[in-house]
Amino acid sequence: MIAETARIHPRAQVGKGCQIGEYVVIHENVVIGDCSTIQDHCVLGVKGPRTSAPLVLGRGAIIRSHSVLYEHSSIGPNLETGHHIVIRERSTIGENLRIGNFSDVEGDCVIGDFTRFHGYVHIGKGSKIGNFVWVFSFSNAANDPLPPSDLAVPVTLGDGSVVCLGSILMPGCELGIGAFVTAGSRPSGHVPAGAVVSGAPGRILFHVSRLMDMETGLRHPWMAHFRLVYPDHAQPRLDALLAKIMESSHDYKAIQKGRNRN
């Protein structure tokens, strides 16, 4: 069903069974997969600098109202957005990204499968984000080491890493697989696989398997106890990731002492 007020360019490709809301604008260079829902006031396929390729949305996308997606990006199936999100050009995004209200992904990003950004998350240009990553609200992946400048030093977030509320990933920060950033932290540089980093500047504390809920004794890594939110075909990948994180072991004290802090 396509709302009467929606404006769809004749050369845009809209798949079967899509629902297009009121006042949606779909520009020329857009391919929308079947069974997608584009809610009111969204704009898809905006031109950006050096864009030419289409915006390709996999099937089953749910794009909530007032969101803006630029052309020249490829997004896998089952994208789900909140309201007022922005995804800029030349990004490659895997299956089932979920991105919360008012978040934005700047251009040239690579994002894996099943990654989750909560609301008000900013992902800087050129960020490389793995599979099963969680970034919680008001976190910021910076990329300019000397703002304002054209120096782009984007962050890298390994598979299964977690960035808690209100953290700032400094330019060039590399989180290893399964790394965990506690709320309000400011990590920089290389954070080893499975490490918990906390504070501003970020301080490496211990292996993520030490993280626990004091009342229940529930422990990290999270994929040992929080995996039913993912479909069946993701489960073997979670098993493999969990095993890798548990194998990762480092002398965190030595790493901490040898680190430069920003």
């Binding site: 506690t182 918990v196 906390s198 504070g199 301080r203 504390l205 211990f206 292996h207 030490r210 993280l211 626990m212 004091m214 004794g217």
Partner: protein
């Protein structure tokens, strides 16, 4: 582990100034004594002291001396 070394490790763990903690120091008065520090203390106890104190036993400690007693120092 000697008491002095224990204190230096604890200061490092909670990011307190070196030499600022004594056995009489009240944990609740230390800004860095929080849930992350408790987990850090568990890691320290396991890796450096070879013991596994229960989180609730750690949280029940009022002073540094209580922590030392728990750790068998």
């Amino acid at each position: 582990m000697e008491k002095t070394e224990f204190l230096r490790n604890l200061e490092d763990l909670i990011e307190a100034n070196p030499g600022s903690l004594t056995e009489k120091s009240v944990l609740a008065d230390a800004a860095g004594w929080n849930s992350m520090a408790v987990m850090g203390f568990i890691a320290f106890a396991d890796e450096d002291l070879g013991i596994a104190p229960a989180p609730k036993a750690i949280m029940a400690c009022r002073t540094v001396a209580d922590l030392m007693a728990l750790a068998g120092i």
